[in-house]
């Protein structure tokens, strides 16, 4: 029952948004309110795990269920949304004041619409994680795409329109292919010796079920392409840099911190269904896509001109790493996902701050951040070192575990690519933070002051990362 609550609650708050259209303060407070309530429901659910309060049954088969796999994804999204909502509460007024839309005549999206879509986006993501049925999973991910598309239009400029159109079209094609893949999987089950009762994960992964190998492979390919597009794996990643360069910071934090993980969860579910005969095929496919996305991200991140696109490529690279972790070392996957989500959320919120203060995406025109935005600059460098896997961050541990389990040649190639990524990102971040600030930077004094106040949330995230890093190192010590 609680699972339904997790999905319905944001929708209720979303419904309240148009009513509070006139009073901005109450409108903004909707977001943190949802975040807090989601966390309360989660805590309540976790306190009594024994009665499966979370399962919702419809016609005998569980529709929404919390099992070992999606439990920590749920906690991650709830926690992430709480932090992001607090940030947005402070960020929205400042953004609308300091970041005027670039193309004259257009105005930024109306506040209540932004809050409405954000809440719908979160509820759809909760639905996609909680769903225990393949079809429902597809519906939830499709709905989350629909909810997040208008959010890219926050600035209504030409570029964001183009970004939204590309995001919408490419993702829906991908998810359409995923639907075809799901139907193929169901078909592979149907024509096999003992077919699964329904498309629910419990039935599909029941011990007796057998899948027809050839059809399963074709189905898996379609599912992988579909969810891979949404996840940002290599050949299908093209929408990500464009969408990420236009969307506002909290949406980006949600997109990369939470949505990518839902699609990763979907791919993980399809991989868990794979019968023994087909598993090596799926593994090689995932490895190829993983390495390809790290390669593409590595070479496209060098000499990147826009720091948001740089973070997008870093997300592509980390999704590639998740794909590799998925098939080589599942133990480290959960740590990697949490660490990546927190770190990427921190970086995107900081990018929001920088955009607030400098009102530009170009790396070259942002210099001397140590002088103008000291706290943001420190956190920005900390984020750089954390995302590239240097020891204080947990990503170092997962990267190390991945390298030990990978075959040696792949390990060497992976490390070279990760080094190129570090080189590209460090060049950009250092040229932004160090150096003498531009002469006309004092006009934007108020914007810079506003941006500096917003560093509380990323600071907390950085602290969380440090603690998580320490715990992960201790965990790694007993592991090896």
């Amino acid at each position: 029952m609680l699972a339904l609550l997790m999905v319905i609650l944001p929708l209720l708050f979303a419904a309240a948004a148009p009513i509070l259209r006139k009073r901005p303060l109450a409108l903004y407070s909707l977001l943190p309110a949802t975040g807090v309530s989601l966390c309360l429901v989660l805590v309540a659910g976790l306190l009594y795990p024994e009665q499966d309060l979370f399962c919702l049954y419809l016609g005998g088969t569980p529709i929404l269920a919390v099992d070992a796999v999606n439990r920590f994804f749920l906690q991650l999204i709830a926690g992430l949304f709480l932090v992001i909502s607090i940030y947005t509460f402070f960020w929205l007024p400042a953004a609308q004041e300091h970041n005027p839309p670039r193309t004259p005549g257009t105005r930024t999206m109306h506040r209540y619409l932004f809050v409405l879509f954000m809440l719908v986006f979160v509820s759809m993501m909760n639905l996609s994680i909680l769903s225990a049925h393949f079809g429902l999973l597809w519906v939830a991910i499709e709905a989350s795409t629909l909810a997040s598309a208008p959010l890219i239009l926050f600035h209504c400029s030409e570029a964001s329109l183009e970004a939204m159109w590309k995001y919408l079209l490419l993702c829906s094609i991908g998810i359409g292919l995923a639907l075809f893949g799901i139907l193929l999987l169901a078909f592979a089950g149907k024509i096999s010796a003992c077919p699964p009762a329904s498309l629910g994960f419990a039935d599909l992964s029941a011990p007796g079920v057998i899948f027809h190998p050839v059809w399963f492979k074709i189905g898996f390919v379609f599912c992988l392409v579909g969810f891979g597009t949404k996840m940002g794996l290599a050949p299908f990643h093209s929408w990500m840099p464009d969408a990420y360069s236009e969307a506002p910071a909290p949406v980006l934090a949600l997109l990369s911190g939470a949505l990518l993980n839902c699609c990763l969860l979907a791919v993980m579910r399809t991989l868990n269904l794979a019968p023994e005969a087909v598993l090596p095929f799926c593994r090689t496919l995932l490895t190829i896509l993983g390495m390809l996305s790290v390669l593409v991200a590595a070479f496209l991140i060098i000499r990147q001109k826009d720091f948001k696109r740089m973070l997008a490529y870093s997300s592509i690279e980390h999704m590639g790493l998740c794909a590799l972790l998925l098939c080589y070392c599942q133990a480290a996957l959960s740590t990697h996902v949490i660490a990546h989500a927190i770190c990427k959320m921190m970086l995107f919120l900081l990018a929001g701050n920088i955009l607030l203060a400098y009102d530009t995406h170009r790396i070259n025109s942002v210099t001397g951040m140590f002088r103008t935005l000291p706290r943001t600059a420190c956190l920005w460098l900390f984020g750089l070192f954390a995302i590239c896997g240097t020891p204080p961050s947990p990503l170092f541990v997962t990267e190390y575990l991945l390298v030990t389990t990978l075959p040696p040649l792949l390990a060497i190639l992976l490390l070279v690519l990760l080094f190129i990524v570090f080189a590209g990102m460090s060049y950009a971040c250092l040229s932004m933070t160090m150096g003498t600030p531009a002469p006309d930077c004092h006009e934007r004094q108020t914007a810079q002051a506003a941006a500096e106040q917003l560093t509380i949330v990323p600071g907390a995230a950085a602290l969380g990362l440090l603690i998580l890093g320490y715990i992960t190192v201790l965990w790694m010590k007993q592991l090896l």
């Binding site: 093209s238 005969a277 060098i302 000499r303 190390y400 160090m434």
Partner: protein
């Protein structure tokens, strides 16, 4: 004084807390530079003293190996760790005192951040030495990289400092990546060869191997002087410490030949490039590469001795190598601190613009000249002690009878001698161009007095170097064998490393060095007495009768070493652009020489250009056209489908039996037919 295990743990915890909380506290009150300065400096000094109280007994083996479990991680301090911690601590102490003076007029307001990163770099270097397992090593190695990067990039306003700091950061990260690869590969069977190669590359990047040294001459001039003193004196040794402790087990012969080759090429490359440098700190940085090369040469000869079961060669080589690290640390530390003093008084590091500083800074001048002479291996100095040991190891190889080793040993000895001669040339150039003669560029007339704090630090290190000569024979007999036994590479030999062979030579050299100093004093007294009765008038320099010599007529540093660097083709060909003298009354003639580091020029710049080209070509897949994106997805989809069908074809051709359930399925749909 037998320190119990508990007191060792307390000392270890004290060191960590002092340095860490000192750093955090000085960062917190960075608004008041004065308070931050004293907080940071005191915590650094106390931390170093506590560390010495911990490391010295361990190095001298008065205390057995200590194991600590601190913050859930395992640390251990044995003789080898203690031996390599001592330079870090001593240099840390000297650099802390020197920084107080150095930062007075220079970035005064940013003392808080300086001391924050200074203390944390010291802490990270100590933790690298104390790491027990590879996890602690990787953690503290990368932490050391980042903290020292922040120090190198301290004055990040200038563009070349940012560029140098970035290159340094990449070198540290690449080193850590190689180490990760080494530990990862050392467990997979069949890949121990590559594991050793990655280990050597990883540690070599930090220790300044010949090709991997590119970051060193960039980072040291960019860093503030006390920081570059610590980095070149203490941080380079950690590369060798890593090899001795963490390298997977390897055959002595192979390691010996590798280190010999690396050492010789490093020494010669380092010193030849040092000759042609115009920047004082770059010259010192290249000479660090040369001295690391000499240390590797010694270790290489030692390992060859171990492979030949030749006890004398082994102990002389290994002991000489480690001793040379120690001597180099003290001398190079003083030289870098002095270069900081020179930078503070003249504002520039370019040798060709200095000159005549000896009159303004007499003490620094004499300190610089004595330390430079000592570092180029001349007898009264302590570096001569380690070089004579390495020569003994080489000539043991000559006498050993194995012809291949004989050839290698004689070439090593000749190479070492050549690098010694060239080092003397490079340091003569440094001393003369900076301190002696007339000032080549205008300077403020009233010279401000030399800062006492900086002089104190420099004297402290020079005194330690002098005291080091006295204790070298004791160090050789009792400390070094114990230290070498700790390294898993050497410790595994079943046959004891007895050090009685070299001690007689060391004792003799020590006596003769002091005899030399006494003789010099006697002769100068004799001269003084002789001249006291005579007339002592002064005149201008005898320039073959020309009465008005100007500063421009002096030999500049570049001119001094021009014959040698031309001989090694550094300043010839495309590196030199000249405006020749034309006509009877030449208007303008000029020579501009740019010395490019062959390592970077031939290896690393082409590599980065290649990656940039690949990046340009790959950029086209992100063209912006929606249709191409969709096409890319479909092509990838079709490729994967073909791959799926191809792998499952063998399965599809075997006609599988019709599963029974299908038949049953058919029935239930039948009734629907009308």
């Amino acid at each position: 004084m037998l320190l119990s295990a508990l007191s060792c743990f307390i000392l270890f915890a004290a060191v960590i807390f002092l340095l860490f909380f000192g750093a955090v506290w000085s960062w917190l009150c960075r608004r008041q530079p004065e308070r931050a300065k004293w907080l940071g400096a005191l915590s650094a000094m106390l931390g170093c003293c506590a560390g010495t109280a911990l490391a010295l007994p361990a190095a001298a083996q008065w205390v057995p190996t200590q194991h600590f479990a601190f913050l859930g991680l395992h640390w251990q301090i044995d003789a080898l760790a203690g031996f390599f911690m001592l330079p870090v601590l001593i240099l840390g102490l000297a650099a802390a005192v020197h920084s107080l003076g150095y930062l007075k007029g220079h970035d005064e307001h940013r003392q808080g951040t300086y001391w924050f990163f200074f203390n944390l770099t010291l802490l990270a270097m100590l933790l690298v030495c104390a790491a027990a397992t590879y996890i602690e090593l990787l953690l503290s190695w990368e932490l050391m990289g980042i903290m020292s990067f922040a120090l190198v990039a301290f004055s990040f306003r200038e563009q070349e400092v940012r560029q140098a700091a970035w290159v340094y950061l990449l070198a540290c990260h690449a080193g850590a990546v190689f180490l990760i690869l080494m530990f990862a590969l050392s467990w997979t069977p069949g890949y121990t060869g590559t594991a050793i190669a990655c280990g050597l590359l990883g540690f070599g990047l930090k220790a300044g191997f010949p090709i991997l040294h590119v970051w060193l001459p960039e980072a040291h001039p960019a860093a503030p002087a006390p920081v570059s003193a610590i980095m070149s004196a203490a941080m380079l040794n950690l590369g060798i410490y890593g090899i001795l402790r963490f390298l997977p087990p390897v055959s002595f012969g192979l390691l010996g030949w590798l280190l010999l080759a690396i050492g010789l090429s490093g020494a010669l490359l380092g010193i030849i490039l040092a000759l042609a440098q115009v920047n004082l700190k770059r010259l010192l940085a290249y000479s660090s590469i040369e001295n690391m090369g000499i240390a590797f040469l010694g270790l290489g000869l030692g390992f060859l001795g171990l492979s030949q079961q030749n006890a004398a060669m082994a102990i002389c080589g290994l002991g000489g190598g480690l001793l040379h690290l120690w001597n180099h640390a003290l001398l190079k530390g003083t030289l870098f601190l002095l270069s900081g003093a020179v930078f503070k008084s003249t504002g520039t590091l370019s040798i060709d613009q200095m000159g005549g500083l000896g009159k303004d800074m007499p003490i620094s001048k004499s300190l610089f000249i004595t330390n430079a002479a000592a570092l180029s291996g001349l007898p009264p100095g302590n570096a001569f002690l380690s070089e004579i040991m390495i020569y003994l190891a080489a000539f043991q190889g000559v006498l050993s009878g194995n012809q291949v080793i004989l050839a290698a040993a004689i070439i090593a000895a000749a190479g070492l001698a050549l690098s010694g001669g060239l080092a003397a040339a490079a340091f003569c150039k440094a001393c003369a161009a900076v301190f002696l003669g007339l000032p080549r560029s205008p300077r403020d007339p009233e010279p401000h007095p030399e800062c006492r704090l900086m002089l104190g630090a420099e004297f402290f290190l020079s005194a330690l170097a002098l005291v080091g000569i006295i204790f070298t024979p004791w160090l050789w007999e009792s400390v070094l064998p114990g230290v070498l036994q700790q390294s898993p590479l050497i410790g595994s030999t079943n046959w004891p490393l007895s050090a009685e062979y070299g001690s007689r030579t060391l004792a003799a050299v020590r006596n003769f060095s002091f005899a030399a100093i006494a003789l010099i004093a006697a002769l100068s007294y004799l001269r003084h007495r002789q001249l006291s009765r005579k007339t002592l008038d002064t005149g201008c320099t005898w320039d073959c009768g020309y009465a008005l010599p100007t500063a421009r007529m002096q030999y500049t540093g570049t001119a001094f070493t021009q014959p040698l660097s031309d001989y090694f083709y550094l300043t010839k060909g495309q590196n030199r652009s000249t405006i020749p003298v034309q006509g009877y009354f030449p208007q303008k003639a000029a020579v501009s020489i740019t010395v490019s580091d062959p390592g970077g020029h031939l290896v690393w710049h082409p590599l980065s250009r290649l990656t940039a080209r690949i990046a340009e070509r790959l950029r086209r897949i992100q063209s912006g056209f929606l249709h191409l994106y969709i096409l890319m997805i479909l092509i990838a989809l079709i490729a994967m489908l073909i791959y799926a069908v191809a792998t499952s074809l063998p399965a599809a051709t075997t006609p599988e039996p019709l599963p029974p359930a299908i038949g049953q399925m058919h029935q239930n749909s039948a009734p629907l037919q009308p």
